[in-house]
Symmetry: C2
């Protein structure tokens, strides 16, 4: 049942040394591309990298996370107006997609396809892991993957046959996420109640200790997702949008 596939998701970072059959990948990409797309423009591209030489070149952009190298397939999902713009120009139509809204439109398209590809892969018994570094080092990825103007990488997924079955990570209770009718902002008491289980999980208290921090939140703000890094990568990403013709 499809809901079970979604409910059983865990990120798989260790893969068997076994290729993914080409036909299977095609079926997965095919199912992925049935995702909704703005005006049926399909303003996205999928770069399916399995060549070890290209993976080696890509790996530094992903901070050399082992899975970026050892997964049989490293799949980069891109916002792509290049193809659509070329089609317009060949058809006596002047494209007006060199702006921020068009980038967001294409990024949305690419991300819906990415998630569909992940669901399809998991339905076929494969394991997947998103790599969040794609937007940090988009400039380097553009260089390695030879992405022309109009194309911006937005996320990357490693895919392969699972060689681990990690525990699922926790999620906040649904009442923390879902608002009825309009947004109801959180009081201090709400926040404390909604994050309590997360904070007290052993895996998380352990994480705080390992990082020598006082609170779990500090692990995020001071170690994992720091303001200075976020600002540095924001600047880089905005420059990429400009260079690729979206600003």
């Amino acid at each position: 049942m499809a809901l079970d596939i979604l409910l059983n998701h865990r990120s798989i970072r260790k893969y068997k040394d076994k290729k993914i059959d080409g036909d299977l990948l095609q079926r997965i990409f095919d199912a992925g591309c049935r995702a909704s797309t703005t005006g049926n423009m399909q303003v996205y591209s999928i770069i399916n990298t399995s060549d070890i030489k290209i993976k080696q070149k890509l790996a530094p952009a992903h901070f050399n996370q082992p899975m970026a190298l050892h997964a049989p397939n490293v799949v980069t999902f891109c916002a792509d107006f290049n193809r659509f713009n070329k089609w317009c120009r060949l058809n006596n139509a002047e494209p007006g997609y060199d702006n921020f809204l068009s980038f967001i439109t294409a990024a949305i398209d690419a991300l819906l396809v990415a998630q569909n590809v992940c669901v399809a892969a998991e339905a076929e018994g494969l394991g997947i892991c998103y790599i969040g570094t794609t937007t940090y080092n988009a400039d380097k990825i553009i260089e390695v993957l030879n992405l022309p103007k109009g194309v911006v990488p937005i996320t990357t997924v490693t895919i392969g046959w699972p060689d681990e079955m990690p525990k699922q990570t926790e999620r906040l209770p649904l009442e923390a996420i879902v608002h009825e009718d309009i947004y109801s902002d959180y009081s201090e008491a709400d926040i404390k109640r909604l994050y309590k289980e997360k904070e007290t999980l052993e895996v998380n208290t352990q994480f705080v200790k390992e990082n020598a921090k006082e609170t779990l939140a500090q692990v995020f703000t001071d170690v994992r997702y720091k303001k200075a890094d976020n600002e540095h990568f924001s600047e880089g990403l905005l420059k990429v949008l400009k260079d690729q013709g979206f600003m």
Copy 2:
């Protein structure tokens, strides 16, 4: 089989006059929230609007598309750092997420959940349709849904029991979308070949006639997604990012 659910997707714009059971919706949102999320931060919120008065206020932001009013549930997916920031501040941690990268991170989170929710809904026999206007009129949606600083609506999905079974829309051949190892840019001949089937489909030649245009591409550039509109909405969206604290 899950692949079939993906392969059978079509956007459903007409719904039966029948509520969605609350337990069913919870199951769907629960499955949706198993989607991958950056560092397990879950920087998104889901606004589930079923109150007709709120739907009526929202509808103009969606250009009064009938489904935005008649779907039993209009679900707005938001990039949300508000909750996370509050949690940080309550835990002696100074959040550094008032920047563009953090907005993109949260938008990616929200979109993966949105697509998972859509797959889950379709697996349960419901019909869904994405509304692309969310990023056009984010300011109006923020007002109606009472979204605080740190929250930006990124996409909207209408959900309900299907009252139509439209034909599937066409997709480009997979070779138009998937690149092996690195991006291979398109020659004129490639573009002509890859778009030929799309251009010659009766539904599309009809569309060109109805719009009194020469080519299908012109329907996009001159009627559906015009440069002036894109630039106008780009400005609006960038202002929203600034106002909501992401620039």
